[in-house]
Symmetry: C2
Subunit: 149 residues, 2 copies
DNA sequence: CCTTGTTAGTTACATTTTCAACTGTTATCC
DNA sequence: GGATAACAGTTGAAAATGTAACTAACAAGG
């Protein structure tokens, strides 16, 4: 089985590839929960969590924080509103702007998923040393914020 | 801005979320190259690299190695064949099986992108210590192979 | 052989995502 | 004030993905 180039390069070592594999694998379990329990997509879960964690926000603010395109936000917000999980309030000053926040139902879903997220993450972290975790977070954050310029 | 729950939880610390952000950010630059230079998608790039690195393979083998669904492979292979980058050869023993390998054009695209991948990765790694890199790879590989069971 | 089950790969359809154009509103600058 | 640009958010069409059903070929047990 002839190799075409340098035999010491492994796809599994190529960082973007490896990161994607790890990200996908580590999202899967949590995805199953919000999907099966609330019929949510990744986008919807993210909007829900942003509102749950940081309180009332506008669509644009969520987009900036989550690095999500505005059309994704728009559709996620529409879905969550449909399911009575969030409420929109027009801004008094600027009529282009809408403030978003969670309804009771939204908060309840958020709290439920929040617990799931924590215990799910605990499982992921299980078997990782303190050092590994600190190192991982530092490096990942640096990578994640590379395009901020 | 009232927080709904425990204020010390940050979405940026939630591992699946952080991993996805890092994976996306770190794929972007390379994606631009294979997209603009060869009109490829992620799936196509992956198939190309598997064949470039590991030689002739069947679609199923690529699927197993890359953890890609067979429909993705099927479509990526069709696209690459269309662009004369790969060749299919029916297996002599088992007529369900097709062997895939790169044409001259495929190899040339692969070699080009391989160089891009290496220098791109070098940029990503730049500013990372040896320890950080080793730690990162170890942990990511562990996470990536969680669902192997 | 011949039924039943499994495997390799493709196709069809529904769901998501992306991209560009759109509406309505505010800001700028002459 | 009135043109023009910029911004918040939505919509529609095209591309990509996921899921299930499909074709064709092999395998195993009777």
């Amino acid at each position: 089985m002839a190799r075409t180039t340098t035999p010491d390069f492994e796809l599994q070592n190529f960082l973007p590839y490896l990161l994607n594999q790890a990200a996908e694998a580590s999202s899967l379990g949590f995805q199953n929960v919000y999907k099966e329990r609330y019929g949510m997509l990744r986008t919807e879960w993210r909007v829900l969590f942003h509102l749950g964690l940081y309180g009332r926000l506008t669509a644009t603010e969520i987009g900036t924080r989550a690095r999500m395109h505005k059309t994704k936000i728009s559709r996620a917000v529409a879905k969550l509103e449909e399911r009575r999980m969030l409420r929109r309030t027009p801004d008094a000053e600027d009529r282009r702007v809408e403030w978003l926040d969670l309804t009771m139902q939204g908060k309840s879903a958020y709290r439920d998923l929040f617990k799931v997220a924590q215990s799910y993450e605990a499982d992921l972290l299980n078997g990782m040393t303190e050092d590994e975790l600190r190192c991982l977070r530092t490096v990942l954050r640096r990578l994640a914020s590379m395009d901020e310029n």
